[in-house]
């Protein structure tokens, strides 16, 4: 067994700040039992805000300090998000609240090239999440967690006597991730115990008599003498991720950064299920207005975060916000199975062109709107204005019968009455078109190809019912 523990030391703060590049002066407040600062941004600490300081004291030091109340639900959701993300390294992921995720990675070591390479990889991949992580590895989950807390970066390999590495850790760690009450820690400190290794010298029965058997149990679990099973984390079936902004945002530019965070989560969720998405929704939450929903549609299932971000940016650029944005939420359902991409040995250029074509289509649709991007297809109807229909680009036309008479490349929509002054020479025709009596849109026309004085070829018709009236209906471009 080899457990990686991933601890988020700044989680209460970063649930608010990860959506922005610079959070400025911000502190998170624990309201109970009395309002105290739990954690503050580096900028705030430089100005003199201290942890466990009362709110009034902190505001006296830094009057412009922004305060957010601690949000345990959001922290739990962010932790679950991290667990989902960690699923890319191993299927055995466990939540270890309040601020850690445990990964059992013994089965993945070979794939990732060993414990050091895997640790490096986890650390690198965690950067785009916007969460500070500390990492350690050990053969038991509790030991990994303690190392991540006290000696970040420690990678303890399973070997005989590995547990001796625990001896030097301070006993305060016993309360971390184990049900050791503060009174027991106080008792141990009272008898002069400072390090976990020193606990071994204490008599077991003596500890048990003083209600401190939980200490020996905890150490036994940490050393691997007792089993320490962990429930496996099951990722959500539907993706939903929410990002709270530290301050309300009135224009869309800063939202891009926050959206980037959400989309890297989405990409991780998709990678875990080997799936892609062709549609997701970005909700911009306002305080006093219903959320603005941006629907992001791609040409084909995707899981590339950069691609989603690019499309989202196009949408955001075209958006006017009805109210300041307080939070962003990204939801998606119906992922489509998308096998991991394998680079093509041959025909790479065609694939690149196809890829570029799809990317272009996505961008244009995002910026111009679906209605401004289309193609036209022929329809089997004798009436010229009904012999075509708009369609989504890429739609193959059905095989259609050859047209009877000449048809122009440009159609004039709707037909324009011919001015009296214009002189036309009729070159060919008439081609009589009488159709549509069944749907009330019947036409009775004689079509001609006409030559204008300027030398252009026009497609004109004479209306037969009611008689009279010449119209131009197209140009032979």
């Amino acid at each position: 067994m080899l457990w990686f523990a991933l601890i988020l030391p700044d989680l209460p703060l970063q649930v608010f700040t990860r959506g922005v590049e610079d959070a400025g002066l911000l502190a998170v407040v624990e309201p109970q039992p009395r309002a105290t600062i739990v954690i503050a941004t580096a900028a705030a600490r430089v100005r003199g805000v201290e942890l466990r300081q009362g709110v009034a004291g902190a505001l006296a030091v830094v009057p412009e300090l922004a305060l957010r109340e601690r949000d345990p639900a959001l922290e739990a959701a962010t932790l679950a998000e991290l667990a989902t993300w960690a699923g890319r390294f191993t299927p055995c992921v466990s939540l270890d609240p309040p601020d850690a995720v445990l990964l059992e990675a013994s089965a993945s070591l070979r794939l990732f090239g060993g414990i050091d390479a895997l640790a490096q990889r986890i650390a690198d991949a965690a950067l785009p999440l916007g969460l500070t992580t500390t990492l350690a590895a050990a053969p038991t989950p509790l030991a990994a967690r303690w190392f991540a807390r006290a000696r970040p970066g420690t990678l303890v390999r399973p070997s005989d006597g590995w547990a001796r590495a625990l001896d030097a850790l301070p006993i305060e760690l016993l309360a971390d991730g184990a049900p050791v009450p503060p009174a027991t820690l106080e008792l141990l400190r009272g008898v002069g115990v400072r390090r976990i290794g020193e606990l071994a010298r204490l008599p077991r029965d003596g500890l048990a008599r003083r209600d401190a058997s939980v200490v020996t149990d905890t150490v036994a679990r940490a050393r691997g003498h007792d089993p320490d099973p962990r429930p496996r984390f099951v990722p959500a079936e539907r993706f939903a991720s929410r990002l709270v902004l530290p301050a309300s945002v009135t224009h869309t530019e800063p939202l891009r950064f926050a959206a980037g965070r959400l989309f890297s989560n989405l990409a991780a969720w998709l990678a875990l299920r080997q799936a892609g998405l062709d549609c997701c929704r970005l909700h911009l939450e306002h305080d006093c207005a219903p959320a603005t929903v941006v629907e992001i549609i791609t040409g084909r299932p995707q899981r590339d975060a950069a691609r989603f971000v690019q499309l989202a940016c196009e949408h955001l650029a075209a958006l006017t916000l009805p109210a300041p944005v307080e939070a962003l939420r990204l939801t998606a359902d119906a992922p489509v199975a998308l096998p991991a991409c394998t680079p093509d040995l041959f025909g790479g250029e065609n694939d690149a062109a196809r890829e570029a074509a799809i990317r272009l289509l996505d961008r244009l649709r995002a910026r111009l709107g679906i209605d401004a991007v289309h193609t036209v297809l022929p329809v089997a109807d004798h009436r010229p204005e009904r012999a075509w229909r708009p369609a989504a680009p890429g739609t193959r036309p059905a095989p259609h019968p050859a047209t009877l008479g000449p048809r122009p490349l440009w159609l004039m929509q709707p037909p324009r009455p011919l001015g009296a002054a214009r002189t036309l020479t009729l070159l060919s025709g008439p081609e009589r078109i009488e159709s549509g009596w069944w749907d009330g849109d019947d036409v009775h026309r004689d079509y001609y190809v006409a030559h204008t004085a300027e030398g252009a070829l026009w497609w004109v018709f004479e209306r037969l019912d009611p008689p009279g009236g010449w119209y131009v209906h197209g140009f032979f471009g």
Binding site: R367, W388, P393, T395, P397, W410, R422, T452, A456
Partner: protein, 225 residues
């Protein structure tokens, strides 16, 4: 030490400099236009790739699309043929009959001039289009310059259709053709090319245009009868 200027020029890599009395020889051959007479007059033997091509016309319906049809038919099946801000509706039955692949056609109708230019640049720069045809009734020289730069950085042929009056203005396009109707043909005046000016207009017969039916010719109508 002195070398003759001609020898210096001859030593430069091909495509960098072209003597004004000869057609330039671009590094990449052009896309055949489908008209041998026109290919012979174009540097690279066809529509240049990665270049802005201006088509100057006074009226629609003189065969301006028929001139492009061979290039559109030959477009690569995995890329788009983008038509940006067409002045009228491209008529699907006629395009299908002419052999244009409608499933590769991308009709883009941006709403305002700035978005039209953005769309053209995207279409050209993406590498996802083999041919881009854009209608710009009143384009500024700076905008055309940006389009020419975008086209140069790509392998896309960018056709820009402009009014005939623009022939008098300078333009950064590398090829400018003025299209005028001639009897059953299209007269092409090469306003600008990388090569010596052409003294006479080319006369291209357009086989795909409807010709007069024998027997029904010369009936005149003058407006409303």
């Amino acid at each position: 030490m002195s070398t003759s200027p001609l020898a210096t020029l001859a030593g430069l890599p091909p495509g960098l400099v072209w003597p004004a009395d000869r057609l330039a020889r671009p590094a990449e051959a052009g896309v055949p236009t489908g008209f041998a007479a026109l290919d012979a007059q174009l540097p690279g033997g066809g529509w240049p790739r990665g270049a802005l091509i201006e088509l100057l016309i006074d009226a629609f319906g003189i065969g301006e699309l028929a001139l492009l049809l061979p290039a559109l038919r030959a477009a690569a099946p995995e890329r788009w043929i983008a038509w940006i801000a067409p002045p009228h509706l491209p008529y699907a039955p006629a395009l299908a009959a002419a052999g244009v692949r409608l499933d590769r056609l991308l009709l883009l109708t941006p709403s305002d001039p700035a978005t039209i230019l953005w769309t053209i640049r995207q279409a050209v720069a993406s590498g996802g289009c083999s041919v881009v045809v854009a209608w710009l009734p009143n384009a500024q020289s700076a905008a055309l310059r940006r389009l020419q730069l975008a086209a140069e950085a790509s392998a896309t042929s960018l056709f820009v259709v402009r009014p005939g009056g623009a022939a008098q203005q300078a333009s950064p396009a590398s090829l400018r053709l003025r299209l005028q109707p001639a009897q059953d043909a299209l007269a092409l005046e090469i306003v600008k090319r990388r090569g010596p000016p052409l003294a006479w207009p080319l006369r291209l017969p357009l086989p795909e245009r409807p010709a007069a039916f024998p027997g029904r010719a010369d009936r005149r109508c003058s407006g409303l009868r």
